[in-house]
Amino acid sequence: MKKLLENIGGTVITTFRQIIDVSRLLVETVYWLFVGPFKKKPVKRDSIFEQMLFMGVKSLIIVVFVALFTGIVIAMQTAPQLASLGAVIYVAGLVAVSLTRELAPVLTGLVIAGRVGAAITAELGTMKVTEQVEALETMALNPVRFLVVPRFLALIIMLPCLTILADAVGIFGGYLIGVFNLNINSGLYIDTTFRFLTTKDVMTGVLKSFVFGAVIALIGCYQGLNTRGGAEGVGKATTTSIVTSFILIILSDCVLTAIFFFSDI
């Protein structure tokens, strides 16, 4: 019993310490992002573009793939129910709103957490265990400025971009089913989509993905920079990074949705 309590206490303390550490990393990142340039210590533009290329452009295929099939699946799943109400045309609105508000940002976030978050942790973790992070530090090059900020910035820019793309592709997936399987007139489908879709829907989704991007980058970098214990440590850190990112994405999605829901945004 005592041991159980000790374990619970230990876990709680570790969790709180990690929350504090991650917050500190966020503060440091923001400092280097906004204050650093004024102190003549900017972040290298090349490394930001390099990260954007890796995180954004090279994730295009998987994001398009996931979004397209999600759109198709929603359309297929909802069509029979709506048909029984004689409202098949509403498939268009349903697909558009559910994708832009919820599914595109969350699914894209999860996919990117798996692809990019894991890569960030594995790379920084390997750098940490092979003394490269320490080397940076002793060369008076701040690791947060050189490693974390480019990844953070690249991801909070690229994830919203990918999400908007996923919105469009997903809606196109629904369109394919609507037009070719449910025999809805193409013009009518598009018209109905835009009748239901508001700027607000898209914007809340994009805002969500912005938060998810920050979460993935911060957790990925934090786990990477705190890796210990060689190759095994890198593996463990990567797993922890992905699992934590997944949980936090779902959690923050719930919180953000609640905020939008109750504040009527």
Binding site: M127, E134, E137, T138, M139, A140, L141
Partner: protein
């Protein structure tokens, strides 16, 4: 004996990692221009002591003074200013995997010295020439052998023309010839450029080739500090056992026999 300028002073530092006491009261002075070698068995705290000197690890108690400044009291900027004055050769080289050899060397130069790109290129070539690797600028670290990585690491350590260079096991894992080459480089650097060197190693050949003074570290304490002659003619049985590489002696590798039996039948 003439009064020499103390450049690094370690005062009574204690350090614990978890429940293991790594350093328990280390005192050490390094003078300007000398090559100080810290030797000791694996796990005796050599690398930890080195990390205290470069400021990546903070002591539980005690302090490290570099050029008269207490490293624990410096803020990030002060520490960075100090760090620009020294270079470190890491055990594995610690080259940045994602950058070419040249970029590895350029990194600190581009950031800290506002120099023309042409001048940086020339400086990189000069440093690589020193370690015998001119022409390897465009290679990635993964294309280099262990010895080459170490030499590039050395070139990077001296890229900023430091006043102090730290070596973490500079010859470990190298063949004897390459070890000799690295030792010669260390000697050349300290003699020609009058760089202060601090090396951590347990390679005895290397120790007696490069050291001006030697400090023997054992179980978190300095057993003896002295010149090569003093260490060779030591009366301390532990130091003697270490430099002669005797398996039996005051430093016991095997635990007692009774323990072993108990452990087996438990």
């Amino acid at each position: 004996m003439e009064e020499k300028e103390v450049i690094i002073e370690v005062k009574d530092i204690y350090k614990k990692f978890g429940n293991r006491q790594i350093l328990s009261g280390v005192n050490l002075k390094v003078y300007k221009g000398e090559t100080m070698v810290i030797m000791g068995g694996s796990g005796c705290g050599k690398s930890t002591l080195l990390r205290h000197m470069v400021g990546t690890v903070k002591p539980d108690s005690g302090s490290v003074y570099m050029r008269g400044q207490n490293m624990a009291e410096l803020d990030e900027n002060g520490l960075d200013a100090l760090r620009k004055k020294f270079g470190i050769l890491f055990q594995s080289g610690a080259l940045f995997d994602s950058l070419t050899v040249k970029e590895n060397l350029c990194m600190a130069l581009r950031e800290h010295a506002k120099l023309d790109e042409n001048i940086i290129s020339i400086m990189v070539k000069m440093k690589l020439e020193l370690v015998g690797l001119r022409g390897f600028e465009a290679l990635m670290p993964s294309q280099l052998s262990g010895g080459m990585k170490k030499r590039v690491g050395l070139a990077r350590a001296i890229a900023m023309d430091p006043e102090i260079v730290f070596y973490d096991e500079p010859t470990t894992g190298l063949d004897p010839i390459m070890a000799g080459v690295i030792d010669k480089l260390i000697l050349d650097l300290s003699k020609k450029l009058s760089i202060t060197s601090v090396a951590v190693t347990h390679d005895m050949n290397s120790v007696f080739r490069i050291a001006d003074r030697i400090a023997m570290l054992h179980e978190g304490r300095i057993l003896q500090v002295g010149t090569q002659e003093e260490i060779k003619n030591t009366t301390n049985p532990m130091v003697k056992q270490f430099i002669e590489g005797q398996p039996e002696g005051p430093v016991n590798f095997f635990m007692s026999k009774e323990d072993y039996l108990e452990e087996l039948i438990k």
